[in-house]
């Protein structure tokens, strides 16, 4: 795909467009499948753009986002998913969580 996934204003985040996953279950699975270096790189690139993204997304109705804006929103949903590993755990998994699972079965769109 040669077209960009995210709005042009966020071309710098294009390398992280793979995080634009529409469900929490997918975002969490990607977190578990990533190294801490990957999570740190994603966090470091995306976190500073949070305010810009919110301002950009505020230009649309939440239930009528263009596709690229929806993907941008999901990138920032993924930022919340990786915030605990990066800011607190220093590992992708929740400490002491063993084989426990906690799976999303219903969530809002977008």
């Amino acid at each position: 795909m040669s077209q960009s996934a995210l709005p042009a204003e966020f071309a710098d985040l294009e390398p992280f467009a793979g995080w634009a996953l529409p469900t929490e279950r997918e975002r969490y699975a990607k977190r578990l499948a990533s190294s801490m270096d990957d999570l740190q790189a994603f966090y470091d690139a995306v976190f500073p753009r949070l305010e810009d993204a919110v301002a950009y997304l505020d230009g649309f109705e939440l239930d009528a986002l263009p596709d690229d804006a929806t993907r941008l929103l999901h990138v920032f949903c993924a930022l919340t998913t990786v915030s605990f590993p990066v800011e607190v755990w220093r590992q992708p998994r929740v400490p002491d969580s063993g084989a426990a699972s906690f799976d999303s079965t219903y969530e809002p769109t977008p």
């Binding site: 919110v54 949903c77 919340t80």
Partner: protein
């Protein structure tokens, strides 16, 4: 030294008269006891199976697997706009009526009628048998006698409950008692932005309720989730509730929660500072038409200014957690064996008005998940050690009064069922040991 006042008796536990001695958890590790609970509790009490928003129009339906009660039910909105519930079972040869692909998985949707996959028998939304394949092959079949078997269904504050006990005529509202009445009028219907989670937990259903019915564990088990300085402060302070209430089989704990927003931004993580949200919900409460002092009287019953959240346990397995920043959570614990159950955690927000609010809510939800994963795993460890029976008696403190009451109540339901009692269960009573 107590930071918050206690009843005149000196403790919540003595106030509610449920004993202060060590307790046995045999009720959580005995397969035989669980078999008794299935009939004594799960076939005899009002069980919450969903909310009215899940069944918005005629033909909207959902199924609920009630393994503990040995059945599956289907709840549907009928042609008159009312709700009906039925055992999810075809009257011909007993096939499960409503399911897709996997018979054990719950489903929801919209239909004009129910059609059995096996031989094509059809039922109207009111349960009436309307079509029999090759009807003339049967012998004097009176279709009017073969409707779906109804289950009692009632709605309270938008929450749909079923009751499998045909002999019990206690209406739902009466069953929910003073604690239910005390939160009537809370605008649950405005909080329609839903995130639902599900976990299979390797612990008895009551043990997991125990974990959510006390906050004594919070400063310790979840210590790493706060920044270091805040964590030390929380552990030094310990935990005390603002108030406990017990009414019949139900109970509640009212808790402080000064983190929404925190007094000092340095107490919370960078993403929380940026999004103004966290475990206690988005810091900016949406307008729900009620100010903090206008909430129904059962919420923040002590009317304490430091109030943060109330947790209501409606026996046997339904919890509602109402949070100060105008959102709520529900927990359900559906037993599947004496040492396993399915836990459902559902988060309800006022729908976000913009992307920032959507992200605030997402952060609250994923933070809830981090905590739930720790809690679930801890309880599997508890279950296996309890089953060793190396220790059989456990001291419970006053901040664990709701656990003590839950186990007393559950054991009383079993005892009364075994005695064939038709009288309502009289709780609280002395702890049976």
């Amino acid at each position: 030294m107590a930071h918050f006042s206690k009843p005149a008796e000196g403790s919540w536990t003595e106030h509610y008269g449920i004993g202060t001695g060590p307790v046995s958890y045999e009720d959580s590790i005995s397969p035989a006891h669980y078999e008794l609970e299935r009939d004594a509790i799960f076939r005899r009490t009002w069980l919450n199976v969903g909310r009215v928003e899940q069944l918005p129009r005629t033909g909207s339906y959902l199924t609920k697997e009630l393994d503990a009660a040995r059945t599956s039910v289907v709840v549907v909105r009928d042609a008159d706009g009312g709700l009906r519930a039925f055992h999810n079972m075809c009257r011909h040869r007993g096939n499960k009526l409503v399911w897709n692909d996997f018979p054990g998985e719950e489903v929801a949707g919209v239909c004009r009628q129910f059609t059995c996959k096996y031989h094509g028998w059809r039922y109207a939304l009111d349960g009436e048998l309307t079509f029999v394949q090759q009807e003339s092959e049967f012998f004097d079949l009176d279709k009017s006698a073969y409707g779906l078997v109804p289950v009692r269904v009632e709605v309270w504050e938008g929450f749909i409950f079923v009751n499998l006990d045909d002999t019990d005529s206690t209406p739902l509202r009466e069953y929910l008692g003073d604690l239910g009445a005390g939160i009537e009028g809370y605008p649950f219907h405005k909080m329609t932005q839903v995130h639902r989670y599900r976990a299979e937990v390797g612990a008895n259903w009551k043990l997991f309720i125990d974990a959510f019915a006390e906050f004594y564990h919070a400063p310790v088990l979840h210590a790493k989730q706060s920044v270091a300085e805040e964590s030390r402060k929380l552990q030094g302070f310990g935990y005390e509730a603002l108030a406990y209430r017990i009414d019949g089989p139900h109970g509640m704990v009212s808790s402080w929660g000064g983190m929404s927003p925190p007094k000092d931004l340095n107490m919370v993580k960078p993403i929380e500072q940026k999004l103004r949200s966290g475990l206690f919900g988005p810091w900016d409460a949406p307008d729900i038409g009620l100010g903090p002092n206008e909430l129904p009287p059962g919420i923040n019953p002590a009317r304490h200014p430091a109030w943060g959240t109330d947790s209501f346990l409606f026996f046997p397995n339904f919890m509602i957690l109402i949070w100060k920043p105008n959102w709520y959570l529900t927990y359900h614990y559906w037993p599947t064996a004496y040492n396993t159950h399915i836990f459902e955690g559902t988060v309800y927000f006022v729908p976000p008005r913009n992307a920032f609010e959507r992200l605030q809510q997402e952060l609250a939800v994923v933070t809830f998940k981090e905590f739930a994963l720790q809690d679930g795993n801890t309880l599997e460890a508890t279950q296996t050690m309890l089953e060793s029976r190396a220790v059989t008696e456990f001291p419970l403190n006053d901040q664990e009064v709701l656990l003590r009451h839950l186990h007393v109540t559950a054991r009383n339901y079993v005892a009364d069922h075994q005695n064939g009692s038709k009288e309502p269960v009289d709780v609280p009573v002395r702890l049976a040991r």
